[in-house]
């Protein structure tokens, strides 16, 4: 399949759009009409053809524009990409993982030619054709992690595993849901999760840590997370809160369908072979409410989830103030009919909206 790459922005005039193809394959995160935390992990071994779960690193119509947005963020704030000295080997591991995966999964877009340590990498969508020596940093324009993550959608947290914990010792973070690599760098798993409400009491993090430390080479895992974003902003960082936070007050009944976006993260987890580090790619997908409700099942369900979500979670996810406005809008797309189980759109089997 050939992807038509959009020319769009995630700032300023916000020309970001999802095509009908992108809407149908959106990773809707709710498998039932309510939501609570769980350690919702499963193996990352492909998924239905065309879905965002099919490939190891999903490439979609937003690829080229997302990479352009990342370059803007890095130019303004180089600390969005950091790697402590002992993490360089993990950076090479990540570069290899992505180059091998993308060249195998998208041979029409990416090529990797390896002759011993001499590697040639071709990235057609971005017009890159570089030859370098694997494990020799002097032969790349950036460190290995920065080089490859400037060419790969999603944020990347690269975690060192030692002393029965995981440590945020490297990363590329420009499309984040309000957390900061510069603040979290060097922290362990419990430290960087400290702000999350309820989950500690539920023992979620202890179980999640145990699971993650046992993610083995050749057996990656994945889960979804979600939040809400006003305007299709990739960079909702604490560093730039003064720029985007205010936009949450600009919602009106007239513009909410276009401005309010459900933000879903496809989080995957890979053991890196040479360094024994863990990489945690966090891929952000955005969808406007007005596009989401074109799938009747999703419209019904999103209304029920947002309506019944505990206040702590609506506060933590940053939309408690806008919840009444959201519910006014979403209730128009909930006719009270039951919904089919699972996350898929089920456009052929679910009835159209009955009001």
């Amino acid at each position: 399949m050939t992807i038509q790459f959009n020319d769009e922005t995630f700032r300023g005039d916000y020309s970001f759009r999802n095509s009908p193809w992108a809407i149908r394959r959106f990773p809707f995160p709710f498998h039932e009409d309510s939501y609570m935390y769980s350690v919702n992990m499963e193996q990352h071994r492909g998924g239905p053809a065309g879905s965002v779960y099919e490939k190891r690193f999903d490439v979609d119509e937003h690829y080229v524009s997302e990479m352009r947005d990342r370059a803007i963020v890095l130019a303004e704030d180089p600390l969005r990409c950091q790697s402590l000295p002992h993490m360089t080997l993990a950076g090479w591991d990540l570069l290899e993982l992505i180059m091998v995966s993308k060249s195998e999964d998208y041979p029409d877009l990416f090529e990797l030619h390896r002759d011993g340590e001499r590697w040639r990498w071709v990235n057609r969508p971005m017009g890159i054709d570089d030859t370098f020596t694997f494990m020799d940093e002097t032969t790349l324009p950036y460190g290995p992690m920065e080089y490859i993550t400037r060419q790969t959608q999603g944020d990347f947290a690269v975690l060192d595993q030692r002393d029965d914990n995981l440590w945020m010792d490297a990363g590329m973070v420009t499309t984040q849901a309000d957390w900061s690599l510069d603040f979290d760098i060097g922290m362990n798993f419990f430290e960087w999760h400290a702000p999350v409400p309820l989950a500690h009491e539920m023992g979620i993090f202890k179980r999640a840590l145990k699971f993650l430390m046992n993610v083995q080479q050749g057996a990656p895992a994945r889960r979804l997370n979600w939040t809400m974003t006003v305007n299709p902003l990739l960079d909702t960082s604490p560093e730039n809160y003064h720029k985007w936070g205010i936009q949450k007050t600009e919602l009106t009944p007239e513009n909410i369908g276009a401005k309010q976006h459900l933000r879903v993260e496809l989080q995957t987890f890979y053991r890196l072979p040479r360094s024994n580090a863990l990489v945690f790619p966090i891929r952000c997908y955005l969808i406007a409410f007005q596009d989401l409700v074109t799938v009747p099942k999703w419209g019904r369900r999103l209304h029920r989830v947002i309506r019944d979500l505990p206040d702590e979670l609506a506060t933590y996810k940053g939309f408690i103030a806008n919840r009444p406005l959201m519910l006014d809008y979403l209730s128009r797309y909930d006719d009270g009919l039951p919904t089919s189980p699972g996350v898929w759109p089920d456009l052929d089997t679910e009835p159209p909206l009955q009001k």
């Binding site: 499963e42 595993q161 050749g218 360094s275």
Partner: protein
Amino acid sequence: MSAAPQKAKAGAEKIEVIVSAVVPVNDLVTRFEFRRPDGAPFPPFSAGAHTVVEMNDAGRTRLNPYSLMSDPADSGTYAISVRRDDQGRGGSLFLHRNVKPGDRMTLSYPVNLFPIDLRGRKHVFLAGGIGITPFLAMIAQLEKLGARWELHYACRNEALASYADVLTARHPGKVRIYYDDRKQAIPLGDLLDGQPLGTHVYVCGPKGMIEWVHRTATEHGWPDDNVHSEEFLAPQPGQPFEVRLCKSDMTITVGENESLLEAMERCGVDAPFLCRGGACGQCETDVVEHDGEFIHRDHWLEDDQQASGTKIMPCVSRFVGPTLVLDR
């Protein structure tokens, strides 16, 4: 959550291999080298990792973990060195007696429970006997990275000092060998006192040696996090005992020479595992009910968990008594 929920399989992913060489190292130790049947490269691995070797011993499946000792940068070969244990449960004897070049075998993907701390300014390796194997891979990896290391290696005698000759020849000034029969011993206290800040110590060898290193390091003021060890426990034989598995709805008997994990596998129960040596925690199982005594032999459960009688690690631990009911 989402797409196509798949049940996690027990154990790590598997790799089909062909035995490419069987090389006697000395009277007790033999090296087994493997390549892939299709000539494809092996997955890269981090030094300190082990692989679980599957053996079909006359219809009985044996799964034994061995440290990968080959150079992690050599993707054409995986190698392990196996010490023959005449009193053991038979895995090492099977390898020594039955496995020949050209045989097809199955290995697990590498799993690392003994990684190098890459922050270390210097790495000091303490090996006892066959405990040398993970350090061979670590030395190869650190040499490539240009990191500082030294090895102190205690052996019974010169004839049984596996790889001592190669190591001393290749790395003069970084390797010291100590022979028991010459009454030589690693001068551990002095060694620990003399290290620069930021040094990490790694020990692999008999249980007594590991405890000695941890205890001495603590006495000499070393932080626990700078002292690393790995000890694979082999399941010990014991009295047969009966176990009720309530999720599987069956009652099984664990024989004298098999582990609880092996008995479950024999009966078709798909129980999780990784290391099969009491270290990784993957097979941790809840106890529903018991009347009797646990023989906990793992390194995973905390002392209070072991004492509570609510958890057992089926890969190495046993039970003596009339009633044991597990949530499996």
